[in-house]
Amino acid sequence: MKKRFVFTKKLKSISFVLMLIGLITGVLAYMGDTHRFWANILFSNYMFLLLALGAAFWMSLQYIAEAGWSSAFKRVPETIASYIVPAFVFMLALVFFGMKYVYPWANPEGHIEDFAKYPEFKEILEVKAPYLNKNFFIIRTLIFFLVWFGTIGILRKFSKKEDEDKQGALKWFEKSRFFSKVYIFAFALTFIFAGFDYLMSLEPFWYSTLFSIKELISGFFHASALIILIVYFLNKKGYFPFMNSSHWHDFSKYLFMGSILFAYAWYFQYMLIWYGNIPEEGEYYFLRRFHFSQTLFTLNIIINFMIPFLVLLPNKLAKNPKVLLIMAITILLGFVLDVYLSVFPPLVHTFAGVGEHIHPVFGLYEIGILLGFIGLFMFVFFKNLAKRKRILPVNHPYIEESLLHHNAH
């Protein structure tokens, strides 16, 4: 059994090539279309930030439930969560340099024509100004990341202590269990505002109290897909030789459950807004469905709910690692689509002017910068994974249970 993860030269060069592509397209985008450049930075960075937070949520859930089967894979979500460091850097860059390009409330001068057409917009922005202003936004960003760094950092620290401490490993496990509860509480509390700030304030005239809950659920669901993708890769490389169909089956339960949860969250917001039928609330969906793209809007729920639900329903398919790999990739593409539908319509809308018919933009810039972020994520993930002395937890109380895991059926 291989003990320590080796960050091979091949992987390193792949991640560097991807990062280079991202850098080149980033520079091109910055020179060509600064609006689109910052929109892309928000789009890609937010996606990986949400995956990192969702993975930490997944890990906390394992601690709280005292799940034995997953303890051997503990390093994977723990290391995905380490992406919050670069996420912080990009969010800071966005907050300091790109805010006026992306958020309409930070740039009233750029919307004078809109205000002339719709004077109530200005009024709404003035009412919301005590919350939506530049300084408070910067302070909030710092608070969010401070809380996330603190809670995730404590969990990582305890995990390291647990590896070193032979006698008192149980003590660290108990502490991790307690701090998982702290993390979930802090994450839920801060993310409700973070989702509000980073995505919802792209349309400051609209608000929904369900929006952040949907994003939170989506983060948890898609992070489990990413965990499956990485576990599949590491298993292929021979790091988890003990894996059997029971492990895969338990992983697939997260995808199955997550797809239903996502559909529920997607539907309750849509249905309530549809039923309420208030123009300023309905505007959000009206823009996406009728002005942006009906196809993409419907495709979102098909990819994220219908396909995983129907494919993972039969017992035999749910245990098959190859099927799970395909499902994980499909669901991650669904995540790209979901975040794309959150970020881009209002931005394209602002470029085009209010009330005009708009078309989805997805071109070289989007793909290139997304690839760059994938490369960055790969680099951060594998670098951090290689830092740990062993890929399996050492003194974890449930590690034996995980190695010998076997479900009937």
Partner: protein, 169 residues
Amino acid sequence: MSKLVAVYSDDRKLLEAADQLIAVKAPVEEVITPFVIEELLEKFHVKSNIPLLAFFYGLFGVTSVFAALYYTFVIDYPLNIGGKPNLSLTFPVLMFIGTVLITVLSTVVTFFVEAKMYPGKEPEFSYPGINDDKMVILIDKSKLTPNMESQLRDIFETTGAEKIDEYHQ
């Protein structure tokens, strides 16, 4: 009809006995336990068709509830509720609840039919402690070859059965 009864109170001993019984191809009629032992189902290759049937009940539930809603709200009695379309987006809520109800009730009925159980049925087998914490292996004596019975009794004794008994009906 007489049966050979082996009483256990430890599920690990029971599983050990089950392994040996399968090895000698004993005619095991029934194993009665106070809780589900999934390894036992796997060992005896007991497969249930209820999950598959439940899926079809679910499909039936979705379509029938949708048909009922469509008939009432669109065809038979279309009402103008705030100018909303009659084929409403709130249908999935009722479809979901109706599907769960139909699936659960049909699955319970299927279970009773498959187990040949109905209210007021006479018990086929009863033994002291069977409703409490005892696990019981039943073997049909009429299917036993003469020297097999002593072999089975040996197995029960070595695996630590609490009691080996006979049951006559």
